[in-house]
Structure formats: structure tokens, C-alpha cells
């Protein structure tokens, strides 16, 4: 504590340089935070996907339907615990930019398969009884200022017409990464209103299994059950399904790692150079410190601590700004439901900050430690 005055005085010795160095860290860590947010936005669904859930889609493509009659056949496969299904609706609320996912869902089994979505029981019962009812995720309700009881008009796209819904409930995710942007309405209503050629079909099945270890066997069993039929299936774990979805956007992870790597390497060079200059400027002063009794180890730690402190201040600032950036929610208005800076990313950011701070300070610190007083004083 008694050395804080010395450390503080040195930090603010060159205010502009201090601010610029802190700024370098802040910008780099802000970018790191935003990249982490983007990574989560694309892969969040993969990470939280249930290990005990399978997704069954049409082997040709997810946009091709599957017969509703498959439900009973899938249920009979050993190891299948629950099953539910849904259709993609793809309607437009007010403006095409107001995207949010809308599902016609199976009221009977949905909550058994997706227990992570929390809905007040009274709201759920009202919804079950209301054929025109709908339930919205908390994020979507907040985004449009909806409250329970509101009438929500959604314009159908491939089905046409305006579909009016009564907002009977609002669900919340029980985990931070749970998607709260979905909009659900009853599959039965969907079935009633679609043209004859669409009837009796679902978009996909979600299957809950007794034991995650059985997932592969059950997946194969489901696909084998419908092999050589007009509607062959492709079954995968929910995690693999989500990962496949993300892959459509390219190798996001690699892109983020590459950008992050370049940024931090540049930051290392910049701060390393700054610290080297800072130490060189203070050669005489460090020599005096040693002359009056400060040890080599103290001087080493002193320079290193200064470097780490600059890094931590800048890093915390950058991560703080990234956190603030995410507080406003998904800026794409629904395309990125998992839009938040996870705690793990903050810790990783602080770890990287410390590593860069230490790496940029270690060589100047060793130089300061090895400094011979007589040589340094001769240079002054």
C-alpha cells in the first residue's frame, strides 16, 4: 500500500501516453467482448441445446414437411420419453424488419420437452383454452411493448392473410442463454387454417430421450423406421442440429479467433513498445531507487505491476463498454437471440488482458531488474 503513491505518480507521468495506452487496451478488449458476443450469438444455441433431445427433420431439407402420423411411430421406439412437434410460420409483424421466430406448436407436449421455458400456470391454462391464443418470449414482448391481453396481428407470408392472436402469456427462460424471442401459437389453429395440401404435416419433431447415451441408437432407429418412405427423416441431437445451423454462416469460431489473435498481437507490440520507452525514460530514476536500497526484484515487480495495472484498467474499461453494448439487446432486431456477454468471456478477457500486460511488461521489467546503478547513472 505504501508504494501506491509511487505507482500512481508513475502511471500519470505522461498523461496522454497513459490515456492512449489504456485506450488501446480498452478498444482491443471491447472488440474482444463484441466478438465473444457474436460467437455466443451464433453458437449459443449449440451450447445450451439439450443433451437429451433429438431433432427429426425431413431428410431432404428442413423446409420439407413430415407427416403428423410419424409421431406415434416415433413414440413407440424404445428410449423415447416425450415427443412434440412444430411448424415454422414466418409471419410479419408490422414491418418485415421486425423479425422474430414464430412457431405453430403442439400444446399437449411442448412443456414436457422444453421445461426450461417458464410460463405462469394461469397464463398457460388460458392459452390452452384459447385457440387464437399465443405466447411470446419475454424479449419479444419487451421489444414491442406487448402485455398479456394484447391483440397481436401477424401477416402470414407463405400462407397469406392476417392472423390475429390473443397474447395469453409471456415466457421466460430459466437460463441466461435461453431464447426469449420466440412466439408460439397452437398447431391446431395452424392446421385448421392451412390449405388442404399442407394439412397433416409438421415442420419437425423434437424428441426427448430417457438417456442421452442412447441418442445415437435412437436417432438411427428413427431414421431406419422411415427409410425408403416418401418422407425419409434425418435425426440428430439438438446440439448437432444447432451446430449445423451455425455452420451455414461459415467458421465463426475461426474468424473470431483470427481477428482476436491479430488484435492482441498488435496490442502486445504497442504496449511492449510503450513500456520499453517508459522504462528507458526512467533509467536514472530506477538507478536511484536501487542506489537508495530498492532491490532488483522490487524494480522488476514495480515495472511489471505498472504494466499489469495499465492493462487491467484498459481491459476492464473495454469489457465494461462491451457489457454496456449488449445491455441494449439484440441490435439485429431478432436475428441474434443469444445476444449477451457471458461471464466466461469476461473472465477470459481479463485473463488475456493480464497475459498481454505481463508479456508486454516482462522484457522491460527484466531490463530494469538487470540495470546496473553505475551504468545507469553514467548515462544520465
Amino acid at each position: 500500500m505504501k508504494f501506491l503513491g509511487l505507482i500512481r505518480a508513475n502511471l500519470f507521468r505522461k498523461k496522454i501516453r497513459f490515456i492512449l495506452t489504456i485506450g488501446s487496451f480498452a478498444v482491443a478488449l471491447f472488440l474482444f467482448g463484441v466478438l465473444a458476443v457474436v460467437r455466443v450469438a451464433f453458437s449459443g444455441g449449440v451450447e445450451i441445446a439439450g443433451a437429451d433431445r433429438l431433432v427429426v427433420i425431413n431428410r431432404t431439407s428442413i423446409i420439407q414437411p413430415l407427416p403428423l402420423a410419424y409421431a406415434d411411430k416415433i413414440r413407440r421406439i424404445p428410449g423415447v420419453k416425450e415427443l412434440t412437434y412444430a411448424n415454422w410460420f414466418g409471419g410479419v409483424y408490422q414491418d418485415e424488419r421486425n423479425f422474430f421466430p414464430q412457431f405453430a406448436m403442439d400444446v399437449d407436449n411442448w412443456r414436457k420437452v422444453f421445461p426450461e421455458f417458464d410460463i405462469p400456470e394461469e397464463q398457460w391454462q388460458n392459452y390452452v383454452k384459447d385457440r387464437q391464443g399465443a405466447i411470446a418470449g419475454a424479449a419479444t414482448a419487451k421489444r414491442f411493448g406487448w402485455k398479456v391481453g394484447d391483440r397481436i396481428p401477424i401477416k402470414g407470408t407463405f400462407l397469406g392473410g392476417v392472423w390475429e392472436f390473443n397474447l395469453d402469456g409471456i415466457y421466460h427462460g430459466t437460463r441466461q442463454a435461453d431464447d426469449e424471442t420466440q412466439f408460439w401459437f397452437q398447431w391446431k389453429r395452424f392446421e385448421e387454417q392451412v390449405p388442404a395440401q399442407y394439412k397433416g404435416n409438421v415442420g419437425w419433431y423434437t424428441v426427448k430421450v430417457d438417456h442421452p447415451d442412447d441418442s445415437l441408437r435412437i436417432s438411427r432407429a428413427i431414421d431406419a423406421e422411415f427409410a425408403n418412405s416418401p418422407f425419409e427423416t434425418h435425426t440428430d441431437t439438438e446440439k448437432a442440429f444447432a451446430a449445423g445451423w451455425v455452420k451455414q454462416f461459415g467458421n465463426i469460431q475461426f474468424l473470431i479467433m483470427a481477428i482476436g489473435g491479430v488484435v492482441f498481437f498488435t496490442l502486445l507490440l504497442v504496449t511492449g513498445n510503450t513500456m520499453a520507452i517508459a522504462v528507458r525514460e526512467r533509467t536514472g530514476e530506477l538507478a536511484v531507487l536501487k542506489a537508495v536500497g530498492y532491490s532488483d526484484r522490487f524494480v522488476l515487480l514495480f515495472v511489471l505491476f505498472e504494466s499489469l495495472l495499465i492493462a487491467m484498467i484498459g481491459g476492464a474499461l473495454g469489457l465494461g463498454l462491451a457489457k454496456i453494448f449488449t445491455l441494449g439487446g439484440d441490435p439485429t432486431r431478432g436475428l441474434l437471440p443469444f445476444f449477451f456477454l457471458p461471464g466466461k468471456a469476461i473472465l477470459a478477457g481479463l485473463g488475456v488482458t493480464l497475459a498481454v500486460g505481463a508479456a508486454s511488461g516482462v522484457i522491460p521489467a527484466i531490463g530494469a531488474m538487470r540495470l546496473r546503478v553505475v551504468d545507469a547513472l553514467r548515462r544520465v
Binding site: G5, L6, G284, E285, V288, G293, V374
Partner: protein, 246 residues
């Protein structure tokens, strides 16, 4: 009493025996000090003079534990310092040596108070005790009213006073002054010399000083001349008690 012939008593505060220092420069060996002997008693004020390159500063650095000799030994207050490790030597310096440099070497971002406090931060003194010591030291050098000034807000003479305060604040065994007036005008130089003399007379400090200035050197008890790495002359001045010029 200072001696350069190696005949000093075991009671000498500082005793150097056969002290040599050789530098290697461009493959050439340069002998700066050659088998030098020196004995200094406590409370003495010694001035070292000599042409540039004669080894004055090298001798001061060796006596202050800032450098190690190529041969010979140095004993200070019973401690043989020539074979101490770097870390031990650092601790020894903190306890025994006060340095005053020609260029002051104050830390510009610290106030006079903070500069003087630096050596005390290494001790176990409380904050209040440190404050008391620093205020006393700054009082001794006549800068009680400048404690919160930064070096840039002080004159050269005042800066050197702060350096002296930093040197004496931990009450070291002896002071090493390397051209303490070299960067000052005559008036400031006289004031600094008055201060050093006060430290010797009133506070019984032992002072070893390097200078180029014969006027400054004349204020010391003894002036030793270094030429080609050898102490060739000892010129003892009269003391005040015997009617001398101190």
C-alpha cells in the same frame, strides 16, 4: 584520521585495502584504481579531487557498494562489503549509505516530501513515523516550506537540498557526494557546502565527496588527490578548533 598508506587502525569507519578496479573497453584493459588503501574515521569530511578519468567516481561507487572492485576489500563499520551478494549489498546500502548526486536525480513526478520518503518506504516505520522523519530531514536542509513542491518547482540549489534530505533521512552511516555543487552557481554551491559542513559538525556525519572545485574541496577536513588510480597526496587542513578555515 584519514590514511592512505594502509596503516589505519581497526577502529576506522571505512577501510579499503589493495582496492583495484579494471574496466575492459574494446578488448583493452583499463586500470582505473590500483591497489589503493584508504582509512576514514567516523565524523570525517573527505574531499577527493583529480582530473577526469582519475577514478574519483569509481572510488565513490565502490565505497558505496554500487560497484564491486576487481581486487581488494572494503570494510565499513565492520561489514566486509566486497563479497556481499547483490541483494545483500542493496540492503546494506539502504542502511549505511546516503547518496548525493551532481544531477540531483530526484523523481520528477514525486513531491519533495515523497522523494525524501523513498528510502523510508523500505523500512517498517509507520506512516506517521515516516512523516516525522521526512519533515525533520527537510527541516534540516531548510525546506520545511517546500515539502509539497515538485522538483520542477524548485531551484537547483533547492533540488540539491532535497537530495541531501533524501540522503540523510534514514540516518545512514556515511554520505557519498558526487560533485554535489557541480551543477550549481557559486552562491547555491556555497549554501550546499554550508549545509554539508553542518551535517558534519552538528550531526557528526561522515562525508566523502568528489569535486573538481578546489574552493569546495577546501571546505573538507582532508583533500585526497587521485591520479591514474592512485591516491598520491593527502592534504590535511586545519580544523576549526585549531583556528582553521572550516
Amino acid at each position: 584520521m584519514v590514511r592512505v598508506d594502509g596503516s589505519g587502525s581497526s577502529n576506522s569507519l571505512i577501510s579499503a585495502r589493495g582496492l583495484s578496479k579494471t574496466y575492459s573497453r574494446g578488448g583493452e584493459q583499463i586500470q582505473v584504481l590500483q591497489a589503493l588503501n584508504l582509512d576514514v574515521d567516523a565524523g570525517e569530511f573527505i574531499a577527493f579531487m583529480g582530473p577526469s578519468g582519475s577514478g574519483k567516481t569509481t572510488l565513490l561507487n565502490l565505497l558505496g557498494g554500487l560497484d564491486v572492485p576487481s581486487a581488494g576489500s572494503i570494510t565499513v563499520a565492520g561489514d566486509e562489503i566486497t563479497h556481499m551478494s547483490r541483494s545483500r549489498l542493496t540492503q546494506w546500502r539502504a542502511r549505511h549509505v546516503g547518496f548525493v548526486f551532481q544531477m540531483y536525480n530526484l523523481i520528477p513526478v514525486l513531491t519533495a516530501f515523497q522523494n525524501v520518503e523513498l528510502p523510508l518506504l523500505l523500512t517498517s516505520l509507520s506512516k506517521a513515523q515516516r512523516r516525522q522523519h521526512v519533515e525533520t530531514a527537510l527541516g534540516v536542509v531548510g525546506l520545511s516550506d517546500r515539502i509539497h513542491h515538485y522538483p520542477r518547482q524548485l531551484s537547483g540549489g533547492q533540488e540539491q537540498r532535497v537530495t541531501i534530505a533524501r540522503a540523510i533521512v534514514s540516518d545512514p552511516t556515511f554520505l557519498l557526494c558526487d560533485e554535489p555543487t557541480g551543477d550549481l552557481d557559486r552562491k547555491s554551491a556555497d549554501e550546499i557546502m554550508e549545509l554539508i559542513l553542518r551535517l558534519v559538525k552538528e550531526y557528526k556525519k561522515t562525508v566523502l565527496m568528489v569535486t573538481h572545485d578546489p574552493v569546495v574541496a577546501a571546505r573538507a577536513d582532508v583533500t585526497l588527490h587521485l591520479e591514474k588510480g592512485v591516491l598520491v597526496e593527502a592534504d590535511r587542513l586545519q580544523t576549526v578548533s585549531s583556528g582553521g578555515a572550516r
